[in-house]
Chain length 211, copies 2
């Protein structure tokens, strides 16, 4: 279908629909209605209807969507069927955990290899860990566009700048710091340390209130 401009809010809901659609048992019948989806996910029917119309034109009145087609439409829209290849920089604890996480494949993400200033091992879970000197060559040879940053906070900006010079256009940043990037480069922050700080701050306040 013709690609429409989509808001970030819609984009953020699509993985939720997809995750639900994939979980429906085979024997539930081939069709799913927007109402059915809305009820299952505790969402408004109008919103679900609008969201689905953005990514699929397979909906039929009184019948709904063919589930398999809707899964395909959303996956295609999100780019999950084109595998995105990425590299990871910083093979410490978090980096190694992400390298070993097999769930990314379902989202079309394939981490090709990792890089570290001082690789502690040659590989983790079958993924090679190379010294940083090989970053430039590897990126150009493999036409890598996406990088995952899991280096310490004080190295994150330098690493990010270097990745951009290697042709990286999208950065998934797990270092708890802001990264400055030129226009056209997207940084998506995943700040687990910050999330934990916010959560434990809330718990401390709760405990204090009780005293």
């Amino acid at each position: 279908m013709q690609r429409k401009e989509i808001s970030k809010a819609v984009l953020k809901r699509l993985p939720g629909y997809l995750s639900y659609l994939k979980s429906i048992p085979e024997d539930a019948g081939p069709y799913i209605s927007a109402t059915g989806l809305a009820n299952a996910l505790g969402m408004g029917e109008v919103q679900v209807r609008k969201d689905l119309a953005m990514v699929s034109n397979g909906g039929r009145p009184k019948i709904g969507y063919l589930r398999e087609s809707l899964i395909e439409d959303i996956s295609q829209f999100l780019g999950y069927d084109n595998t995105t290849t990425a590299i990871l920089v910083g093979a410490g604890k978090l980096g190694q955990a992400l390298l070993g996480y097999t769930g990314f494949a379902a989202y079309g993400l394939n981490i090709l290899a990792a890089f570290d200033i001082q690789p502690a091992a040659a590989e983790v879970e079958g993924k090679q860990i190379y010294p940083m000197e090989q970053l430039e060559t590897f990126c150009r040879q493999n036409k890598v566009l996406m990088a995952i940053i899991t280096v310490p906070v004080q190295n994150a900006q330098t690493v990010c700048d270097r990745l951009i010079r290697c042709g990286i256009k999208a950065v998934w940043n797990f270092a708890p710091t802001h990264l400055d990037v030129p226009k056209g480069i997207l940084v998506q922050n995943e700040n687990m340390a910050t999330s934990l700080a916010v959560l434990s701050m809330h718990l401390q306040a709760q405990i204090k209130d009780k005293k």
Copy 2:
């Protein structure tokens, strides 16, 4: 020191300072100035100075902060020295990856155990996986206040409601969906599927522009 009200923006920068401070080699001398920190992290000096004043009163003019004390002050402020115990619900791929991630200890997070409707294994990385029936008893016996949700999107709200009835006050939600909670409960969303969707959408647009 007297606890001050702190903004979420400051809170989000504190883990970055801490991560840097901990990485400074022993032989660098015992003191660090706000200017030194600002330069190392590429931040404004005034902001660093203000942030540190919120959490420590150990700064001395022309000398700076005793590094060890500043680490202690920030850690204490963020609650990293009081270990927060949490449980994890949903021991699928992501759940198991988080259970096995040893880096949380540095942030004072201890995942006691996991729960699943159908545990695929009895334990992962030394952490027990219990059937959901044991959730209530476990939470009350261990006075658990924090839970990590890694269940499929369509079960997330039900699980969240059940956790709140068990006394959970802070939820770290990895399911790509919004959760409704009563006042006083904090939900922190960590949406890796959404982050990936945003990143690959950006890459698709980049590739399309090139064509």
